[in-house]
Symmetry: C2
Subunit: 352 residues, 2 copies
């Protein structure tokens, strides 16, 4: 364990431990800085809930990015059993399998509530389980950032030509789309973004949304804050569990781990729902950030490029094609209901 780890196993000793000392000592690695708001603290709470519900039979040490393994090595580390569990997002593993990005967020994809509907009650999680199975990993949705933002820019985006040569931090399929639009996508872990924006190695960067972007201080290096997030409308976070570690647990402990993931999924989205609005107000009124909306023509162009990127990605892989078909069917059948949802939301400012 690195010096930077948060050892929740220690906390477990203060809990009632009906079965005595810990039977399992789990290691959790994450793609986030330790205790990072929402993402890191959500991973901590996931671990705490497993420790508490197991009465201390499972102890868990939680590691931030770069502690035990670098952020982007989390998938590999859990797959190989170097850690028992990981917390991150499928968006970082898109090169492991063509189907993977659907389980995080794809350009012009689902909202958070649609994604949860698809995953838990629309066949999505079964497909995800199938996709991760060859890696010895069991996936669970654990957190969703909700609506994201389009990113931080120091110049206005008026036409797609403004993307020409733009060095922008953007991961996942959004990166491939940006490249086709003429930009230079660069993938960096969140922690590196402020420095890279300041020293000019990045012209623009997207991270998450107000709550997380404020925490990294991105407003210090860019003036315009663009929406909507065409690239990640709402992104699913994941827990990945090493299958052997999981199978070593008794059925009640397995149930505890799985339900802890579902509770943490609820909790993290709720945290974003509460914190994003306040952080946005802070960014605008205290730090003078200027909100900008991408022009419709830019969105239209990105949409058509996204469709091509997606089509090429799934066309040569049977499993990816099946995942895409399931995802698309869910989105399509939700259209009419989504219109009623919108009509209801439009009343929102009524009673204030």
């Amino acid at each position: 364990m690195g010096a930077g780890s948060l050892t929740l196993g220690a906390a477990a000793t203060t809990l009632s431990t009906p079965l005595g000392e810990p039977q399992f000592h789990w290691t959790m690695v994450t793609t986030w800085p330790r205790n990072f708001p929402g993402l890191g603290t959500g991973a901590n709470r996931l671990a705490e809930s497993i420790v508490a519900m197991s009465g201390g039979r499972i102890a868990i040490s939680v590691h931030g990015a770069g502690d035990l393994v670098p952020a982007y090595d989390v998938f590999e580390a859990v797959s190989k059993g170097k850690a028992d569990m990981g917390h991150g997002s499928a968006i970082y593993w898109k090169d492991k399998s063509p189907a993977i990005p659907f389980f995080s967020s794809i350009p012009f994809g689902m909202t958070a509530s649609q994604a949860n509907g698809w995953l838990y009650h629309g066949g999505g999680l079964d497909l995800w389980t199938e996709v991760y199975d060859p890696f010895g990993l069991i996936p669970m949705p654990v957190g969703n950032t909700g609506i994201q933002m389009g990113g931080w820019f120091n110049k206005e985006i008026r036409t797609t030509a403004d993307f020409d040569g733009l060095k922008m931090r953007i991961p996942g399929l959004g990166a491939e789309v940006l490249a086709r639009a003429g930009g230079h996508p660069i993938d960096l872990p969140g922690k590196a973004l402020l420095g890279a924006l300041k020293d000019g190695s990045l012209d623009a960067a997207e991270w998450v949304g107000p709550y997380n972007d404020l925490a990294f201080g991105l407003y210090k290096a860019a003036k315009y804050y663009y929406y909507p997030s065409w690239q990640e409308p709402a992104t699913v976070m994941e827990a990945i569990i090493n299958r052997r570690s999981y199978e070593a647990l008794s059925p009640d402990l397995q149930a505890i781990v799985m339900h802890a993931c579902k509770a943490a999924n609820q909790d993290m989205l709720a945290e974003y729902s509460a914190r994003n609005p306040v952080a946005l107000q802070t960014l605008v009124s205290r730090f003078g950030v200027e909100l900008r909306r991408f022009p419709d023509a830019v969105i239209d162009r990105l949409r058509s490029l996204s469709a091509k990127v997606l089509e090429e990605r799934v066309s040569k892989d049977e499993l990816a094609a099946r995942v895409h078909a399931s995802y698309r069917k869910f989105q399509l059948q939700s259209l009419e209901w989504a219109a009623i949802d919108d009509a209801t939301r439009s009343m929102r400012d009524g009673l204030l």
Copy 2:
């Protein structure tokens, strides 16, 4: 136990029971017909998860409305220890305390994701706990229907005058608002609605949304399906736990019950997100239901009546006033973020 109960305690014997036979035999009463889609099945899954995570140390028998106690006696039954746990919605107990309706849904109130943000990370659950404390009850949010519908009507609503003398099933504060608009609100449990619409004791009825309304066959007795739901934009379901029953549990079992509630909260909303869209398609394309939107002038009038009803309700009760202030503050500070959320949703039909 009535013959209609679903005894999950029996299922527990098939699970790993590291601590032997059940230590606790809990009774759960619900306001729903047994196994009713989403609400009843969600209550079942909540019980199942507690049984599984506890390794069978807690056994739970789940009762539908009218089995052990009538639907609207659930609060009283758990408060008095006749049952250990209940599943229903705070909307049914508005006469117990002026503050209660804020924990289900109020006219022109929060969306599901805002409600969860407020409850878990905006102080809402602390207030709810305070409000239920004198009744010996511990509340937890367990499920949210998401966006609801405005209800079923056999005549079109063109102006507020069309509410004159209208006998409509509608619970909660919406009922008080309808009365001020000239209607006759009638509160009936969901199970009674189809019969009452058919025999003319009701002219109109609102229940939940497409998934649940289809299950009760309400389309058989009314032609027009109105939106938006001004009266319950998105309604929180609750678990209520008898405090003495809860305090008898060891800390790990307490943690299991609480996290089971949070996981079930996530799961139920996801189910509605998946099932409502499909049910709406069925209602419209198979059963010829006609969707109608309330005219803006009607919504405006109901909004102003709602503000009055709410103000009068909270003005004479210190705790209700505090709850209202907290709720309102959360809604207000979410306005700017909600506009960005809307802008992102408007891209939704992009990639289909």
